[in-house]
């Protein structure tokens, strides 16, 4: 390599990174990464929209190298991308949308623990290699093979910090309940990924409530912003109950399923309230998959139009806070499935 070529600057000069330096992909590093899987490198996982470039096991490994992944992370990157390419996830739409949502990966099961995915304090922030690099590998793939680049195929107005990385696991050590994956019907020993297209988390502090009704009333209100697409379309939402809030509910006798049910029931606004501002349009309400009367100002519009749309997890450190990630309007539905390790 010529001594006057700085590989970091070379890659940053190209439109191949997220603006941060990447680990330079060399044949040696890619071969090292591929040792983690028993798959043919040329096997096509799918075509990433809208450019529809093929994501092969090799090209995914290249991006995992660039992101800074360990080889043991590659199965999660592969599993996550496979899920995101499902038709119902509508990756094509989110690559081009004006909105700023990102595919959040919630990784469950023993392998997540084995590779050090973090779901405790600071889990949405920096400092945890598996969280940071798995999500980053996905984003680099969406940029380089999918073309979801602002000003090119992406019309995103703000994007979101979640487009640097969006990957975590639950804090089961401090959770009083079963995982999201178990609630979806998987065994606790299954390695599962759930992906949902969501905004950055809105942090909801409540250090006053001593019983669930008051706590969930506050959390439900944070699910119902006038400008949230959840109020004006069918959309997913991720609620990451902090373990302190989850424990408060559990100690009052509430199961995970009951908290899910109550949040779905409580989170909403009346038509009259929604008309005051935000994205209210009568024709949007008529397109809901649930019966509503857009001409009745007292009609209650729930934020969650179908119980499957609320991805309830327990994550974060100990403290009186819950994180809520609103969804998108583009017809994406959360997906989940097992992945091979």
């Amino acid at each position: 390599m010529p001594q006057d070529i700085d590989p970091f600057e070379f890659f940053l000069d190209k439109p191949w990174s997220d603006g941060l330096p990447v680990v330079t992909p060399t044949e040696a590093r890619v071969e090292w990464m591929l040792e983690a899987v028993r798959l043919a490198p040329e096997a096509v996982v799918g075509l990433i929209p809208p450019l529809l470039e093929p994501a092969t096991v090799r090209t995914i490994a290249i991006h995992a190298v660039m992101a800074g992944c360990k080889p043991s992370y590659l199965p999660v990157v592969l599993g996550g991308l496979r899920l995101m390419l499902r038709e119902e996830f509508n990756l094509n739409g989110v690559q081009g949308t004006m909105h700023g949502v990102a595919p959040l990966m919630i990784v469950s099961g023993p392998y997540a623990q084995q590779i050090g995915l973090h779901g405790g304090n600071g889990c949405f922030g920096p400092g945890f290699r598996a969280n940071a690099t798995i999500g980053r590998a996905i984003r680099l793939l969406l940029l380089n093979l999918g073309g979801g680049i602002p000003g090119v195929a992406s019309a995103t107005i703000f994007a979101t910090p979640m487009r640097y990385t969006a990957c975590l696991t639950e804090n089961l050590a401090d959770s009083p309940w079963e995982s999201l994956a178990v609630s979806q019907g998987y065994a606790a020993t299954d390695n599962v990924i759930t992906c949902a297209m969501v905004e950055s988390p809105r942090l909801c502090f409540d250090d006053v409530s001593q019983e669930p009704t008051r706590l969930l009333t506050g959390l439900a209100s944070s699910m119902t912003d006038l400008c949230s697409w959840n109020m004006h379309t069918r959309s997913d939402m991720v609620v990451a109950l902090g373990p302190q809030h989850a424990t408060l509910c559990a100690q009052a006798g509430l199961s995970r399923a009951e908290v899910q049910r109550r949040l779905c029931q409580m989170a909403g606004r009346t038509v009259g309230d929604l008309k005051r501002g935000g994205n209210w349009r009568r024709e949007r309400a008529l397109a809901f998959p649930i019966p509503v009367d857009p001409d009745d100002d007292t009609c209650f519009i729930p934020a969650i139009k179908h119980p499957d749309d609320l991805q309830l997890i327990v994550a974060g450190g100990w403290g009186p806070c819950t994180a809520i990630c609103h969804g998108w309007s583009g017809g994406s539905h959360a997906v989940h499935g097992t992945y091979e390790v």
């Binding site: 070529i5 070379f10 060399t26 949308t97 024709e283 017809g331 994406s332």
Partner: protein
Amino acid sequence: MAETLGFIDPTAGGDVARIPLARRPMDLAGATVGLLDNTKEQGDVILHTLGSVLQERYGVARVVLQRKEHYSKPAAPALIEAMAQEVTVAIAAVGG
């Protein structure tokens, strides 16, 4: 150049295809115009208005209005193919 330096181009391997633009007719008299509604609100209003103006002022013989499944998803290939067989030119509208 990346390869000559010992690096891997992460975008290498993709085919580059040039798709020429369809010929633009200079005269729409007697033409059939396709109007593709992307389903965003008021896109249909724009298209209906446009279709009427094209017929009244430019002699368009017929308009064919089609609607996508959802604004964030591509039009179904069958829809595009059917429209391509039927119309002279097509116009897509984004509502909002």
